[in-house]
C-alpha cells in the first residue's frame, strides 16, 4: 500500500473531490479537447488568452482521480502565466510524473511524483496538460494522450 499512498496523496484526493475551475468558461477564446482512448478519459480545457497571458482557465470532463485532480491543479497553476511559462511548467510536471523526482521549489505539482511508479497512469496525469497546451497553440485538432506520447 505504500506505493498507492504515494500515488493517491491528499492533495490529489482533495482536488479530485473538490475540483477547482471546473465547467465551461463563458469568456474563453481558446478551447481544446483531450481523449485517452485506452480508457475513455476525457478533458476539455477552456482558456481566455489576454495578450500572451492566460487570463482565466477552466476544465471539464470525466476520468479517474489522477486525471481529474491533475486537470484541476493545472488550472490553478496556469492562471496568469504566459504560454512560454505554461510550456515550462508542463516540462517540470512531465519530469515529475516520469521520473518521480520532486521539484526543487515546493509546489503542489510535486504531489504527482508517485505517478512514476504506475507507468500506465502517466497518460491520466498528463491528459489535462496536453489539452491546455493544445488550446494555447490554438491547435484545432483534439489532443489525445496517444498522439502526444510520453
Amino acid at each position: 500500500m505504500s506505493d498507492l499512498a504515494d500515488l493517491y496523496q491528499q492533495v490529489i484526493l482533495d482536488h479530485n473531490r473538490r475540483p477547482r475551475n471546473r465547467g465551461k468558461l463563458p469568456t474563453a477564446n481558446r478551447v481544446a479537447h483531450g481523449d485517452n482512448p485506452s480508457c475513455g478519459d476525457q478533458c476539455s480545457v477552456y482558456l481566455r488568452l489576454d495578450g500572451d497571458r492566460i487570463g482565466d482557465i477552466s476544465f471539464d470532463g470525466s476520468g479517474c482521480a489522477i486525471s481529474q485532480a491533475s486537470a484541476s491543479l493545472m488550472t490553478v497553476q496556469l492562471k496568469g502565466k504566459t504560454a512560454a511559462e505554461a510550456e515550462k511548467l508542463y516540462q517540470q510536471f512531465h519530469d515529475i510524473v516520469t521520473t518521480g523526482k520532486e521539484p526543487e521549489e515546493i509546489s503542489d505539482i510535486g504531489a504527482f511524483a508517485g505517478v512514476h511508479a504506475f507507468p500506465a497512469r502517466i497518460k491520466c496525469a498528463t491528459l489535462g496538460w496536453h489539452a491546455a497546451l493544445n488550446a494555447l497553440k490554438g491547435d484545432p485538432v483534439p489532443a489525445t494522450t496517444e498522439t502526444h506520447k510520453d
Binding site: S38, C39, G63
Partner: protein, 412 residues
C-alpha cells in the same frame, strides 16, 4: 456449482503472487489463461514438427500439414461446422469480421441497402460495418438496447421494424462483453433469413464458454478468437457457410491461395485456402486444437453453468455495496460469466489500480464499447469476468477489495 478437481493446477500462471497477494485473475473477458496442455502443444510443435505447411513433401512438412489441417477439423467439430473447409484461420475475431465486412461487403452492398448491427457491439463488430456501409453507400443502423442499465437486452420489437428486405447483413454479438447479455442468436438468424439478410455473429465471448453449434444457430458467418478460449494469442477463426465462401473473392492475396499465376493475372483456390494467403500461424492453430480438447474434456455445458453461477454469486455479493450500479441483466436473469459495475464518485481506473494492490485483476474502461457507454450515460465501468478456474472465494476477495476502496475514497 460444477467444479473440476485440480483444474487450477492445469494453469501455471494462476500460481503466483501479485503485489504480495495471491493472483485473483478476473479479466477473462479480455483474455483467458492457458492450460499446460496448450502450452505443451506449442513446445511440442516447435521441438518436433516445425516446418512450413502445404507446399512440402518431406516428413516434417507433412507432420506440420497434418497438425494444421487436423486443427481445422478439430475446430470444425468444436462448433459443428458441416465441413472443415468452412473454417478459416485468422488472427482473431477482429480480423475475421474485417474479412467478411470487406470481401462480402464489397461484393454485395450498394446504396439503398441497410447494414444492421446492435447497440451493444464491440468496436470490432461495429467499426468494420460502419466502414463497409460508408464505402458502399449503404446505410448503417442498429438495434437499440432496452432499459436504463441495458437490463432488457436488445429491443426485439425494434428489431422487427428494422429487419426490412433492405437489410443485406445483420451483424450481432452472441454475448455482450460489457453487459453479459446473451442474445437469442438462433432466433436472430431465423428472422434475418426471413428477409434475406446474411448473418454475422461475433462469438468472441461465447465459443469457449458454452456449447455452440453453427448449424443449429443457422448463421452465415461467425468469428471468434483463440486467446479468449484457453488458446494462444494470434489465432482465431472465421466460420463461413461453404456456399457463401466459394462465391467470395479473396481478401488478401499471395502464396498458398492461388492456383495459377502469371505476370498478368491469378486464379484462386477454393475455401479455406483462398482466404489464407501466406504462411499460416501453424503452431497457434495446433494449440487452438489442444484448447478445444481441453474445454470439451471439462464439458462446455458444465463450463457455462459454472461461469453463470459465479456471475450470480458476484451479483448478489456486489449489489449490497453502497453506490454501486450494476449494468446488464438483473439478478436471476440469464447472463454470461461477467459483471460490469460503476460506483458513484469513484472512477473505474482508480478501482482497478487499488484492486491490483490486492492481487485482483479487473478491467476498467469502456471495454471497446464507447457508443453503449454513452447510451448508459457512463464513460467507463469496472468489469469482473470469470472462467472455469475461478472460485467463489475469489469473488469474496474481490468484494473485500471493493469495500476497502470505497472506504479509502470516503464513499463508504
Amino acid at each position: 456449482m460444477p467444479t473440476w478437481p485440480n483444474v487450477r493446477a492445469d494453469f501455471p500462471v494462476l500460481h503466483q503472487q501479485v503485489n504480495g497477494k495471491p493472483l485473483v485473475y478476473l479479466d477473462n473477458g479480455a483474455t483467458s489463461q492457458k492450460p499446460r496442455s496448450v502450452i505443451d502443444a506449442l513446445v511440442h510443435y516447435y521441438e518436433r514438427d516445425n516446418s512450413n505447411v502445404h507446399r512440402g513433401l518431406h516428413t516434417l512438412s507433412m507432420r506440420a500439414t497434418d497438425g494444421y489441417e487436423g486443427a481445422r477439423t478439430r475446430v470444425a467439430r468444436f462448433i459443428n461446422a458441416a465441413d472443415p473447409a468452412e473454417i478459416i484461420f485468422t488472427r482473431g475475431t477482429t480480423e475475421g469480421i474485417n474479412v467478411v465486412a470487406r470481401s462480402w461487403g464489397h461484393a454485395h452492398l450498394k446504396p439503398g441497402d441497410i447494414v444492421l448491427a446492435t447497440g451493444m457491439e464491440h468496436h470490432s463488430n461495429l467499426v468494420p460495418w460502419q466502414q463497409a456501409a460508408r464505402a458502399s453507400g449503404a446505410t448503417f443502423k442498429f438495434v437499440p438496447v432496452l432499459g436504463a442499465d441495458a437490463e432488457g437486452g436488445l429491443d426485439l420489437a425494434a428489431l422487427d421494424q428494422l429487419l426490412t428486405p433492405q437489410v443485406k447483413v445483420f451483424a450481432f454479438t452472441h454475448i455482450s462483453n460489457t453487459l453479459g447479455t446473451i442474445n437469442p442468436a438462433a432466433e436472430f438468424c431465423r428472422r434475418a433469413r426471413a428477409v434475406g439478410a446474411v448473418t454475422v455473429i461475433d462469438a468472441a465471448q461465447s465459443v469457449g464458454h458454452g456449447p455452440l453449434d453453427v448449424q443449429a444457430l443457422g448463421c452465415d458467418f461467425l468469428a471468434f478468437s483463440g486467446h479468449k478460449m484457453c488458446g494462444p494469442t494470434g489465432i482465431g477463426v472465421l466460420y463461413g457457410r461453404r456456399a457463401l465462401l466459394d462465391k467470395l473473392a479473396p481478401d488478401e492475396t499471395g502464396g498458398g491461395m492461388v492456383v495459377s499465376v502469371t505476370y498478368e493475372a491469378a486464379t484462386w483456390k477454393p475455401a479455406p485456402e483462398r482466404f489464407e494467403a501466406g504462411t499460416p500461424n501453424v503452431a497457434d492453430a495446433i494449440a487452438l486444437g489442444a484448447a478445444c480438447d481441453y474445454l470439451d474434456a471439462l464439458g462446455r455445458d458444465q463450463i457455462a453453468a459454472h461461469d453463470a453461477l459465479l456471475a450470480q454469486y458476484a451479483m448478489e455479493q456486489l449489489s449490497v455495496l453502497p453506490g454501486i450500479r450494476i449494468i446488464g441483466p438483473r439478478v436471476g436473469a440469464p447472463r454470461s460469466g461477467l459483471v460490469s459495475f460503476a460506483f458513484e464518485g469513484v472512477h473505474a481506473h482508480d478501482i482497478v489500480t487499488f484492486a491490483d494492490e490486492d492481487g485482483v485483476a479487473l478491467r476498467g474502461g469502456h471495454h471497446c464499447n464507447q457508443p453503449l457507454m454513452r447510451h448508459l450515460g457512463l464513460t467507463s465501468t469496472t468489469r469482473a469476468s470469470f472462467y472455469l478456474y475461478n472460485t467463489e472465494q475469489e469473488i469474496d476477495v474481490l468484494v473485500a477489495s471493493m469495500r476497502r476502496i470505497l472506504k479509502f475514497f470516503g464513499t463508504a
